[in-house]
Symmetry: C2
Subunit: 378 residues, 2 copies
């Protein structure tokens, strides 16, 4: 196994890329979907089950983990991998996004962001240096720079000011990472710029100037809609180096993922499969399926006959009953089936790229999933 963090492209099909990231904790096949393990658990799933779905990497949330159980505590307990029984790679965000969406009384300055915990009201300060320190304490394999996720909509001036701050923070993160990280760990920059093409170009250029082993695209899937999102992704990727992985943060529906892969994105994370699963929504190869719907009350067919996931073999009637009854097993089975579907979607995308049929695959998925955004077909 490698001691370094490296990325190589194995195949291309148009702008779509098939690649592999090597890390000391194992390879990450791209395009990759990272299940979200917010509070040191991919909700309602055993870690062994997450691995069995084909996930090469999961995501942890710095904001949640710094508040509970605390980064220093996780470090004393041997790091996040050991703590949560997950030995493969972990990517952590910087905490910035959730500070803005979840915490109370947050205030951004040049230094960083001060906020109060949504759990107990305790006061905290997240600076670029502290964000990196926390991610190093957790033992994260792929870390993210602290940035400001520019709110949507934003005027050009607001987007520019926000972007400039994020770029200064990115440079500070790189310096801190150089001091604190271990060999084989990586720090990714994050492109901002809202929906302004010239700002996206400027942000990408500034990050490439600083130099990172991977680049994320942030500030999207925040209300701009599927079309604009895909357009901004396409504009951004053309200014990113070919030989580094690209990660579109917080996206999205199956159609979002396929469209973004078509624009040259390699990595994704999203709460959608697990959150939907806890609310009775399933992703299947025949499209979305709301198990609350009474049409399934006596439907003996399996959730998804085309899926190889054990959870997808349960009858729709049984899943309907579990969801209606508020039984945990409903959330457990649907989260499992949905994560499996997302991993299988990535596996099929990788194969399609390898054989040069990504365009056909994309069209086929469009027929199955007419949706073009988070609210898509529902």
């Amino acid at each position: 196994m490698t001691k370094d963090f490296t990325f190589r492209l194995l195949a291309r099909d148009g702008a779509a890329r098939r690649g592999e990231i090597a890390t000391p904790r194992g390879p990450i096949r791209t395009p990759a979907f990272m299940p979200v393990g917010t509070a040191a658990t991919v909700k309602a799933m055993f870690p062994e089950t997450v691995e069995a779905t084909g996930a090469d990497i999961i995501l942890g949330n710095t904001y949640h983990l710094m508040l509970r159980p605390g980064a220093e505590r996780v470090a004393r307990l041997g790091g996040l991998h050991r703590f949560m029984h997950w030995e493969k790679p972990i990517l952590t965000d910087s905490g910035g996004y959730q500070v803005m969406s979840l915490s109370k009384l947050r205030k951004i300055t040049e230094e960083g962001v001060a906020f109060q915990s949504h759990i107990d009201g305790s006061r905290h300060m997240l600076t670029p240096e502290r964000a990196v320190e926390i991610q190093c304490l957790l033992g994260s394999d792929i870390q993210m720079v602290l940035d400001e996720c520019t709110p949507f909509p934003a005027t050009r001036d607001e987007a520019k000011r926000s972007l400039d701050l994020s770029m200064r923070w990115a440079a500070r993160c790189k310096t801190a990472f150089a001091e604190m990280s271990k060999p084989g760990q990586a720090l990714f920059g994050i492109v901002q710029g809202s929906t302004y093409p010239d700002l996206r170009k400027e942000s990408a250029g500034a990050l490439v100037e600083i130099g990172f082993p991977g680049y994320a695209i942030g500030g999207l899937a925040v209300g701009e809609g599927h079309e604009t999102m895909v357009e901004m992704v396409g504009i951004t990727t053309q200014f990113l180096p070919e030989d580094k992985p690209r990660y579109l943060m917080g996206v999205g529906t199956p159609q979002d993922l396929i469209a973004a892969i078509g624009q040259g994105v390699d990595m994704f994370d999203c709460v959608m499969p697990t959150r939907s699963g806890r609310h009775g929504q399933a992703f299947t190869w025949a499209g979305r399926c709301n198990l609350r719907n009474s049409q399934y009350a006596e439907d003996e067919t399996p959730l998804d006959a085309e899926s190889s996931c054990p959870a997808a073999q349960y009858s729709r009637a049984y899943l309907h009953h579990l969801v209606k009854s508020g039984e945990m097993l409903g959330a457990m089975l649907l989260s499992w089936a949905n994560i499996h579907f997302y991993q299988e979607l990535m596996a099929r995308a990788r194969t399609a790229i390898e054989v040069g049929e990504f365009d056909d695959f994309s069209k086929e998925m469009g027929r199955r999933y007419g949706d073009t955004g988070p609210k898509g077909s529902e």
Copy 2:
């Protein structure tokens, strides 16, 4: 595999018995603990996991299932086993106990009990005949007669009146069962009589007169305390035939189970391991463990090093974090570990009886688990 329901004793040690029930759906090793699958799911557990803990049989609740998804619907879907992915034996209660504890506006007459659903207020009537019909629609392997679980405390007159009604209902159930059941299914009688030894004797005698392939002991663990419970069990079992299995309903703590096995009981069910698991309580070979307690926040030791359960290998620190964070995985792991513990407890009891060391085993468990009732050591 047998086509009939049979019971044979394999060993004795004092009053404790080691036996085996044969059914068309597989054997049940006794003493046996039946995990409770109230609404067609052992809460927070996959059916495969329940089986892997060593459970030979689970329990389903007629009251819950008749209201949702409905007995006729389960029958149309191929029966409860198929519906919930559990091919081994299932025992169902008659619904009577939960009508009295959960429903609204219930009224008992000679005919049966009328009540309103706690889910939607709909009106229902449960008679001895309907209770058997529902259990046959579910496809239950071991069915229970409809009885009145005599409230505690009860005067002798109240207990006697209640008991007489239950005995008349038991006879009606047997008649209905003879008409509706399939070969290999069994109907158990239920001894009532509150805490009055002569009424316990009378009830046992009346049921034996009617004749059943197994006998349950009901109306205990309702507030009478561990000592009285064990005393009543001992009084009752001496009036039950040696060659039929005995089932103590709704009991209990590890110490309750060991004490009742010592009085000749063969079968148990209780929500305690799963309900405790959902509330952060673990049963381990070192005693009970409340994972909410902050003493475990940095305890790297596994939940139960003496257990072979995969769930018990997670650190107490991680389980503490999951429980404090309200994460489903905490309930999933602790329910699993607790059901595994109860099955392992039965397995060790069976072995102890076989080798004639049940008394030593009982004393050893007393040292580990000082508690003598549901609230025991906590």
